[in-house]
């Protein structure tokens, strides 16, 4: 066009630098195109349960791999080219030299992921979301309550707190699954059982041969455990029904909504707060979440 003699400096970003987010936007612009996935290669696949696989991935760009960092509780978009992207919690340790996601075979993308083998290529956009405020929790007891694949969302956080045990007054884990073979990260569970610095309670839905631990639904076991709400942070993740009833139990036990955290899952597309799909009222799960306190959720419309 006539006025565009120079192709440069057309953005009004600087002149309209009034909104608080401008800096972020500028940073985003420098960071490049947030829609473009980084290509990564599957380096290892662990079959966790009959329908859950854990994928260990390494970015093809070594610099990206080196620079990659995230906070416990953050998520990423893992995609198969030609099928699509889906959101998964990052389950590796921040110190790992790979990125790890645990995927339950459920829909199109997860099915395609399950069909991949070591050496295959995927696309990753990560990290996204806020993560758990592990810094704020220092000096408190942490109680993880999780069910089924919900453990994937908390795995990185558990690993983090275990790596920084001195910062916390104690770690308790209540983990429920439908049957003994459905515990994801069986190897972790075995290890936690051996350790005496973790208070681990396992439960399954229905009695079965050879089972030594609790039997019953998570909320019921939670009430039986009767944890002391004082100086404790409760972190909850699992199927919606479990969350709903565990929350009732937590309230019964005297936990306030402010000390109860959960992490949400929603259908997401862009992952950067634009596409308008994962919102619960004014909050976007992809950027304002996925971690919320129950007090924050209480403010939002009932669209979980």
């Amino acid at each position: 066009m006539a006025d565009n003699g120079n192709g440069q400096g057309k953005t009004r970003l600087t002149s309209a630098d009034v909104v608080a987010g401008a800096t972020t936007a500028r940073a985003g612009k420098q960071a490049g195109n947030p829609y473009l996935p980084e290509v990564a290669t599957i380096v290892e696949i662990v079959q966790e349960t009959s329908n859950i696989k854990t994928f260990r991935l390494r970015f093809d760009d070594t610099q990206v791999q080196k620079d990659f960092s995230f906070k416990p509780g953050q998520v990423g978009q893992l995609g198969v080219f030609g099928v699509g992207e889906s959101t998964f919690a990052i389950t590796s340790r921040p110190t790992d030299d790979f990125v790890q996601f645990s995927v339950m075979r459920a829909g199109e993308v997860t099915k395609a992921l399950h069909n991949l083998s070591v050496g295959d290529k995927v696309g990753i956009r990560a990290p996204m979301g806020n993560g758990f405020p592990v810094e704020e929790w220092k000096g408190k007891k942490i109680l993880f309550v999780m069910g089924g694949i919900g453990s994937a969302a908390l795995k990185a956080t558990i690993e983090y707190t275990l790596a920084h045990l001195d910062d916390y007054k104690g770690i308790s884990i209540l983990y429920g699954a439908t049957a003994p073979e459905n515990f994801t990260y069986q190897y972790d569970v075995d290890e936690w059982q051996k350790r005496d610095d973790i208070d681990l309670t396992l439960t399954i839905d229905r009695e079965c041969d050879g089972w030594q631990c609790e039997v019953g639904l998570v909320p019921a076991i939670l009430e039986k455990m009767n944890p002391d709400p004082a100086e404790t942070i409760a972190v909850l993740c699992g199927p919606p029904i479990m969350i709903r009833f565990s929350l009732v139990s937590f309230r019964k036990l005297g936990f306030t909504d402010e000390q109860t955290y959960t992490t949400l899952e929603k259908r997401m597309k862009c992952g950067i707060g634009i596409c308008g799909r994962c919102n619960v009222g004014p909050k976007y799960v992809c950027v304002d979440g996925p971690v919320f306190t129950m007090a924050e959720l209480a403010e939002l419309p009932d669209e979980l």
């Binding site: 198969v80 080219f81 030609g82 099928v83 395609a112 069909n115 991949l116 295959d120």
Partner: protein
């Protein structure tokens, strides 16, 4: 929609490599040669699929452009299947099942033939010449008929050439 694909493009129709659903890793086989027409055959498990096998066992020579999608019964075939195949770049779609009266499930093909007839009458409105779409009956024993049907249909589509562009 593709429960199973079978690539007949190898040496002859006896090739029974099950390519599985063409997923993220792309199709396991298939020539990159775009000059050859690609034809999707949607066939019922009990008659035409077996008929194709018979043709193979009988070593009837036939064109190798056809890829089969096996469905339980022609009654299962939604017109969408054919349209989707065209959308994905097929140059022709062949649908085949049991002869009327021979349906493994008694009556599936009676429903099917009504649908296909309408489909055939309407397909040219999509800009797809009727010659690119065919539906017929081939029973399990009719290996020769299968050969004939496929040869004729492929020749017809070949005379029209590959369709331009990928979408419809």
């Amino acid at each position: 929609m593709a429960e199973e694909t079978r690539d007949q493009g190898a040496e002859n129709a006896t090739a029974t490599t099950e390519a599985g659903t063409a997923g993220a890793t792309g199709e396991a086989t298939g020539s990159p040669d775009t000059r050859r027409v690609k034809i999707i055959g949607i066939v019922c498990n009990w008659c035409s699929y077996a008929g194709a096998d018979t043709a193979g066992v009988g070593r009837f020579k036939q064109p190798a452009n056809l890829r089969l999608v096996r469905v339980p019964c022609t009654g299962r075939i939604d017109p969408l299947f054919a349209l989707k195949a065209f959308e994905k770049g097929a140059d022709g779609v062949l649908i085949s099942g049991c002869h009327p009266g021979d349906c493994h499930y008694s009556e599936g093909n009676y429903y099917a033939r009504r649908k296909f007839e309408l489909m055939e009458r309407m397909i040219h409105h999509l800009g797809i010449p009727q010659e690119r779409f065919k539906w017929t009956w081939v029973s399990a024993s009719e290996g020769a008929r299968w050969q004939q049907v496929v040869t004729d249909f492929v020749a017809g589509v070949e005379s029209l050439g590959p369709r331009q562009g990928r979408a419809l």
